[in-house]
Each structure stands twice: as structure tokens, then as C-alpha cells.
Symmetry: C2
Subunit: 369 residues, 2 copies
Amino acid sequence: MQLKNLRTPAFLIDLKKLHANTEFMIGKAEEYGVKLRPHVKTHKTFEAAKYQLGDTLTGITVSTLAEAFFYQENGFQDITYAFPITEDKLDDAAQLTRKIKHFHILLDQYDTFDKVQHYGYEHNITFSVYLIIDCGAHRDGVNPTDPRSIKLASALHESKNTDFQGILTHAGQSYHCNTIEEIKRVAEIERHIMVQFAEKLRSSGVECREVSIGSTPTCIHANTWEGITEIRPGNYVFFDKFQADIGSCSLYDCAASVLTRVIGHYPEHNRILIDAGALALSKDQGATHIIDEVVYGFIKNHPELKITKLSQEHGFIDCEDTIKFSNFPIGSFLEIIPNHSCLTAALFPVYHIVDNDQVADVWKPVRGW
Amino acid sequence: MQLKNLRTPAFLIDLKKLHANTEFMIGKAEEYGVKLRPHVKTHKTFEAAKYQLGDTLTGITVSTLAEAFFYQENGFQDITYAFPITEDKLDDAAQLTRKIKHFHILLDQYDTFDKVQHYGYEHNITFSVYLIIDCGAHRDGVNPTDPRSIKLASALHESKNTDFQGILTHAGQSYHCNTIEEIKRVAEIERHIMVQFAEKLRSSGVECREVSIGSTPTCIHANTWEGITEIRPGNYVFFDKFQADIGSCSLYDCAASVLTRVIGHYPEHNRILIDAGALALSKDQGATHIIDEVVYGFIKNHPELKITKLSQEHGFIDCEDTIKFSNFPIGSFLEIIPNHSCLTAALFPVYHIVDNDQVADVWKPVRGW
């Protein structure tokens, strides 16, 4: 199929760029001596996961049970479900634990530990569990300076129904950094907190096999992973305008884009309309902490054009200068690097894989929960 | 199936509320003497469209070709594709024109008219066409005060390959109003501009059968539709927090919600985490022109709780007062009225239909373009 025959909006993946991005992370993990357990939440496809792993089917990280079952059905034998488990999800977790070699769950609440232990006892199952650590993002995770956190790890270690793997964190605060230097500092804090806590555990007699970190900005900019065993970045597969704005990549590295067509010229308002609206781009406003204006993505080759507004299916393009409309004929293509590729990808039932300006393949992601 | 067995996040539809909302609009259209051609873009299901039409299969409005083909396959014979047509979509439009009794397209560009006419001539087909009018939203549509707009209508009227239906507008500016009085003024402007332009056309010898308007806020608050033949509201099926905030409905009327579970307590940060993140709620910030704070939806029965931040799968709930965590046990349900039901619905592969506190049905929407 040719690009010009695609119904728009369409989600494109530049295969060479995706390959370069995935090879970069494989190479860095290898060089720095850590396991790469890539997160698949950004793309949710079998094919991109294989690129992330270098064509093997080793360990991955997922964000939903739907992803976990999808990858299990596709032959993956080592999956971390990187989302705080709760009692209602234990039947599914038990199924996955029985179906594949290594299925890992996460928790950070004593209450949840009790439920997991009780369920394991009742159903004669041992869950492989990570303890989530808060390394400064203040999302999920236990406070590593709180003595109760050691106790919870110790309880996980001692219970017959939990196989304590180790500790895991996500330095989400890296997304709010203003400079690369700041991201490097967050990466070092992330590493330092985790390594220190792992040592505390070990000196308390708690075996801590895994010390797992992961956020694309910190994985890109970390200078050392001493003491870390595993990284779990995800967004780097595609990257996006947000990552380029905070310095994780350049716009050139972005592997995913939304293909759209010009549908109208409105010289009176110096405006172009396109057929990519909120359902094609998502309403994510991007890195507003460092970018003064809200724009919904970057239009390739046209930095002068700005997507200033979205209705459900229409995108509004404005420009400070007078638009030369003849440069953008009705029906002509524009290609948009989205603000946030994870949320944009999630809106498309299929991805069109572009190689040498041709649609080389169509990938179908898993959806839902 | 019982609600308590649902995997969360889940998209719920309260059937009684949906029924009340759809009956309201059927009743108002009947009383005011206009045809109701409801927009299905908010839900994209066969079942909700039937509620919108009072169990008949008369005319509907769609926003994508995927919807058009879906409803055609489900027996609908009268569909308006309410999105500016372009040349690349004419093969599909021709197919639909041949498959069902009435398939209507829209345009507002001379260039597009040429393409449509040429295509029609080449393929021996007559397209049923509406002219889009800009009644103040400055999205798509011709300027009704520009003499060229009459010329374009006249050309559509005279061409053998276009069957000119009439004129159509969307008063999108109603979403930015601050008061109900303002919405009423927009509704009157919308009506007035359309009726006046239709009269101008008729006095120029251009038959203008249809005068079609539609936006949920103006359809709710209009006091008269004199001179209007057809309304095309869509969001009213579900409503949402945005519509409640601008006065189109009350929060009680909202028929769609996201069911989520508490997954963590973080007393140190006075925070609750839930399993509904950006992929369950969308990043739509709601009616920020009248609401000072950005919150991602309204938590039913808990106005004191605020969803202040979303990561992909986690929702952050904060509170001005100290949260009494024992009131929100881990695993317990919360129900969220989304900011923007169209964008939230689009994230769910299925909807769970709730009647008398039971899951009465599962509806599957069409996705993509």
C-alpha cells in the first residue's frame, strides 16, 4: 500500500527510527551492565516489543492486564505487570502466574500485602512480587526513609506465598525537569535512593535480587547504573514532542507521527483546517512547564505552523505570518509529531509502518484493560 | 454480570439517564417542529443511536467514514457525514451514496466543489451536498456575509453532479460561554444567521430545503427554531462535567461515567491513587474558561476529592482537607463523571450498560476513521 492511499488521520511509524531508538537502549543497557526489561505500554504491539528486545522474547513490562494476557498469548514467558496490584486483580494475576514462567506483580500497601498473602494461601500459589519505592515522583511507592518500608519488604521476603524479587521505582519527576542537567540529577537521585534502600534491605537480612528503575528521560541521560539490575523505559520506542522539548531526544528521532490532510483554507482567519482533531492527537498539552504556548504537536518541515486548537475531528492551524495557502493545497498531507506518543497511539486501532516511503506493514495494538 | 466483577477502569452508561436525555431531545424537536438528526460521534454505537431516534432508523449524523460504513452495515439509510469532504474521501462517499438511500456530504471550499463535480461527472454519480456556514465559531464554513458564499451555493444548486440539500452550521462557540444567557444569545445568532442566509439563497433562486444547526448547548437552550428544519446535537446523549459546568445539564443528568478502584493510600502526601489515568479519562481539561482549577472529572458523591493529575494508568486524587482514608478502602469503587464524554468514551473498547445496579448489556462502539 502507498502512503497516498491511506485514509487520514493515520498513525505512522518510521521503522528505521524505531529501530535506531530500540537499538540505542539495547546498546546502552548492555554497555552499562543492566538488564533491559522494556515497557510496552507506549505501543502495545507484538512487533515493537520484538524490536525493543532485539528479536528475542525475554522480559517485558506491561501496564494493563489486557497487555499481560496479549503478550502471554504471543509466547512471552517473563512479564512484569508494573501497576499496583489490588485484590480484584488477583484472579487474573494467579492465572498469569500459572500460565507463564515469570509473572511479577507490584505492591506498596500493607493492606494489599495481606490480601495477596491470603489469596496465595487460599489458592496455593506463590506470587512473584516487587516492592514499589517512591524516589521522588510521589505517585505510588513506599517512602524509602520510613522504617515500615523495610518491614513490608521483610514481610514479602518471609511470606511463603510471595517470592520477593526486589524493588522497583519510576522517576516520573524527570518529565517536569527544565534542563538536561536536572534530568541527570534526577537519574542520580533515582539510582542512589534505590541502591541505598537495597543495601539497607540486605543488611537487614532481606534478599533483594532486583533493583529496577525506569523512565525514558532518566534512562537516556543516566551516567551510571551502578547497583541497578534492570531498567524499564518505554516511551523511547517512539519518543515525541514532549521528550524532544525536555531534551530526551531530538525531533528527528521521533518515530511516530500522525498523517493528516488539509481540509480547508480560511484566509479571513489566516487558518488551515486538518482532519486530525482531538481523537487523533489527544488533548495532551505537552511540556507546558517549559513551552509557553499550548500547541498540539509539531508539524514536520513547518515550524511556522501551529496547531492551536482541536475539536473532535478538526485540527486548527494558525500562523503568526500570513499563510501562503497555495503551499498547502486542499487534500495535501501534513505530518505531525504528537505531544505525547503514548496517548496518541492509544487512539488508533492500527499503526501503519513506513519504510522507504512505503507502507511496509500494519501493526495491531492491544487495547483496553 | 455484576458491577463488582468488572475489571476497572470501565466505562458505564446509566441506561435510565441516557433514555431521559434522548427522550428530552426527541420531545423538544417534536414540540419545536424540527427534524432531529442526532449526531452519533459521542457514543458510536448502534444501540445508543436507536435511543436517540426513538427506536426508528431515520436520519443520523456521523463524524467519520468508519462510522458511516458501520451504520450503513447496520441498516441505516439516511446518513450525513458532517465533516468537510476532500477528494481523497470521494471513493468512499460514492460507495456510500450508492449503498444507502440518502448519504449527504459537506463542503465549504470552491476547490473541493470542483473536485466533487469532476468526480461526479467522471463516475456518473450525483452527490447530496450541504454547504457549511460559519455562524461565528470560525472553524469550518463559508462566511455568510461574503457574496461568494451565495455563488458557491448557487453552483452546488446548478451542478448536475451535486444535489444541493441546503445549509448546515455548528455553533461551537457555545462551548466557550460563561452563562446560560450567553448560550441563549449564541443560539439565537446561530438561528438568525442561518435563516437569513437561507432567505438570501431563496431570493437568489437557489432552493434551500434544509437549514441544519446543532450543538448540544444551543440545542438545550434555544427558545425558538423558527426557520430551522433540522438539529444535530450529539453530546447530550451522555452529557459530561463540561456541559454541567456551562449549564447544559446538571451533574445528575450525566449518563456516562468511569468506574475506578482505589489502588493506594499515601497519607504522607494526603493522596489517593486510582486505576483510572489518562487512558481512561482523557487529558481534556474541561471548562477551564469558567473553572479556575484543572481537575479531570467529578467524583460522584465526593465533591471534596479532586483528580489533580493523571499519568497513563494512574489517577491522583488530592483533597484540601485531610483525607479520611478508612472511608476509601483499597479496592473500593469510585465513579467519575468525565470532563468530556466524547473523548473519554473513545478510549474504551466496550461500554457497560447499567440498569438497576446491574450490568444489563455491553455495547461495542466503532473506532478509527
